[in-house]
Amino acid sequence: MRIAGLTGQGIEFATEVIVRACAMKGLNVYTFRWFPTIVRGGFTYSEIRISDEEVNALPDRIDVLAVLDESGLKDLDSLLSEDSIMLIDEGLSIPHHDWRVVRQPLKKASSEAKSRLNVVVVGFISGLLGLGYDVVSIVLEKISKKDLLESNLRGVEAGYKLFVESSLESFDLPSLSVSKSVVQGSDMVALGALSAGCKFFAGYPITPSTSIMEKLMKWLPEVGGLAVQVEDELSAVNMVIGASYAGARSMTATSGPGLSLMVEGIGFSAMAEIPIVVVDVQRVGPSTGIPTAYEQGDIDLATHPSHGDVPRIVLAPSTIEEYYSMTVTAFELADRYRCPVILLLDQVYVMNYFTLDKLEASRASGRKYVSRVRGEGLQVFPSYSGLADCIPSPPLDGFLVVASSVEHDVRGLSMQDGQTHVEMSWRRLGKLRELEENPVEWEVLGDTDSSEAIVSVGSCRGAVEEALEKVRGSGRMIMHIPLKQLWPLPRKLGETLRNIEKIYVVEQNASGQLLNLISSMLPKTAELKSIRKFDGCPFRPGEIYKGLVSDGGV
């Protein structure tokens, strides 16, 4: 279903109520919100897919569309069918159509109930979906602002009454025994950071990553950590480097424009071998782009983030659960290889609502410190020699700790001759060979002995899997690799695809950044097809399906 209208009409609140009511009934949801940067009066919609089975993508059709303003009748393409119900106020005019329009006195009901239009719509929808007035009331009591609770309850009641009087048939969504939790990707990243022993965060507000900072500012102090909002991204990345040098697992989070600024710090972290985790929630670029919309256009920048030969690890989780587990992985790898790890995330997962039964977590190993060494006469600790799997931080007993952005010897002391640079470059770059051979995050889905394969990235996974179900129905076998370790590229990728005849690369950007990244690994004989989209919205399964069944190359 979709609720459409203007920003300021409370569509986000309405979405949250419906999502939470579904979760209480044990149903799964997948949500996506389109919204503009202006806080009042811009076109916005929220899409909620509800199922008793797992859902990991947007739907191909909209069964219920609730319109709060005429301008909400946009971007509908072919999503409405003749069975779709369009709920609209009796006073609104709509263009020529062949939709099933349900006109209701929604505005009148809201003014009579002295309530807001969005909650009246929620009331009507809760009747239509069969969510139950009682369930919705419990949700309202939980999430309403105190002074609005009474009016919200009145509004929902009024909307519910309109539904009852409308004699429409209810969808009668089932109630499952165990209710679910409602999470956003930002919750998962923040919890992942806590679980990895992250104790310091510095960030600068930027859509769509701000909520990660806000959650950590609230939660980190509870586990003995600290999160600060600073003056810019340059400060943020250098501050987490300082904190990591002083012994704390540290992280920053940003979006593309901020990542552009942070590249100097990513190079510093790599050179000084001070582990940091940089979260990049991608948005539409280049430059300011569309700050609120979805795109996977930072693959190029994240995989090639700084000048010089920079050791770096780039991870891209593909499910909401992985937003948690791979955040933990990011910290473990950063410390293990003493380099920056960039966690490349998608706006759709970070900002929207999803349902989970529970969260399975394994214990992180945490930072391994250099301890029980005893220096004589205050030498500088050999931080950059083989024995440095453990990370030194000051104060060390009898040793000094030096970390440097300039080329250095094994102790970190400035040494700017060619031979040292050759040796230290091999040291820095050589560290990641292990990860190239044995990627920590690697998965092959579906039919492993097929002659066709899909490589996807991030949140494209869900839509690809759903499209593949349909393809399999027609007897076609296709392997699916949701690529999660973008740098260093796993050798396994080339090996797995060695005998594949046709390869589809699925990603959400204009230039095919994933395809370019992996092209050297693909068999020269294979036929390549790029399936990509960059209109700010996530793929729908049907769009991938179309790409898989239609002919034509890139």
């Binding site: 586990v223 600290l226 600060v228 003056e231 250098n238 540290s250 000084a272 214990r363 500088v380 000051p394």
Partner: protein, 288 residues
């Protein structure tokens, strides 16, 4: 050789950085500090080479980012004495923004800016403290920009310790350093320095003639308006105030954040589970 000597300092003959090196090293010694408890955070520029010569912990960072990196160190482990060292390019040009914000946060670090009015490391370009109408290298006209006023900038940004030193008076410089290092808050010292190689018209002798010691005027003051007035009145006469101009005790950033101990690396899963349960109604199953 004392415990704070790592290597023989190498700067051009007559460089002001030698005085800063001597004064800082001796300040550490006289305060009874141990090298293990000090972190020198450096940016880019000739003065910042000091990390190679003074034997302490060191974080040699990138251009202009001394203060964010130093803040990170102090927040993660407030037990460390954190000393930032920059030149005028590092501090007032590329890193200018961070000075304002670190000062207003009152982070308990000492920030030393060696101000010689020129980009010496890149061989002589004008800096943010180069006086207007100066004759500068490879530029056919008089320099058209007014200089930054570091003391006023620090004062109005909320620094709780503002001083100006002079490389021609190492003894006093050392005393300012000592006072700055024990100050509980953001201590800022701009040092009037020289670059005989790339800014030869600015000499120690010439600077000395312009100096006015602010003790004579009852400094350090604890009122920003008085301190600003003092700086302006001395500068108005074409002179340079030297000494500790302003000092006041205010809560530090660490104190306000309640981050007064080293950040504990241990992971408390039951506390994290509580957060997940409370905030999200989410059950966490921790596997061993």
């Amino acid at each position: 050789m004392d415990v704070f000597e790592r290597a023989k300092p190498r700067w051009c003959p007559g460089c002001g950085d030698f005085s800063v090196y001597e004064a800082l090293k001796n300040a550490f010694i006289e305060l009874g500090l141990r090298p293990e408890e000090i972190v020198i955070v450096c940016g880019i520029g000739c003065a910042t080479f000091i990390w190679s010569y003074i034997n302490t912990n060191a974080l040699k960072g990138i251009h202009g980012r001394v203060l964010p990196a130093a803040t990170g160190v102090k927040l993660a482990n407030p037990g460390l004495k954190v000393i930032g060292v920059s030149g005028d390019g590092d501090a007032y040009s590329i890193g200018g923004n961070h000075l304002v914000h670190t000062a207003r946060r009152n982070v308990e670090i000492t920030y030393i800016v060696v101000d010689n009015g020129v980009f010496g490391n890149t061989r002589g370009q004008p800096s943010p403290t180069t006086p207007i109408y100066s004759v500068v290298k490879n530029y056919p006209f008089r320099w058209p920009e007014k200089p930054v006023n570091p003391l006023l900038l620090a004062l109005v940004s909320g620094a709780t310790f503002v001083a100006q030193g002079f490389v021609g008076d190492v003894k006093k410089l050392k005393e300012y350093f000592k006072e700055a290092i024990i100050h509980r808050g953001f201590s800022f010292i701009n040092i009037l320095s020289v670059c005989p190689t790339f800014n030869p018209t600015r000499t120690v002798r010439e600077l000395k003639e312009e100096i006015v010691y602010v003790e004579e005027f009852g400094a350090p003051l604890d009122n920003v308006r008085d301190a600003v007035d003092l700086v302006l009145s001395i500068q108005g006469e074409g002179k340079n105030p030297v000494g500790v101009i302003y000092k006041k005790l205010e809560p530090t950033y660490n104190e306000l954040l309640k981050a007064t101990g080293k950040l504990d690396p241990s992971i408390n899963y039951s506390r994290i589970s509580e957060i997940a349960e409370r905030e999200l109604g989410l059950k966490m199953l921790i596997k061993d």
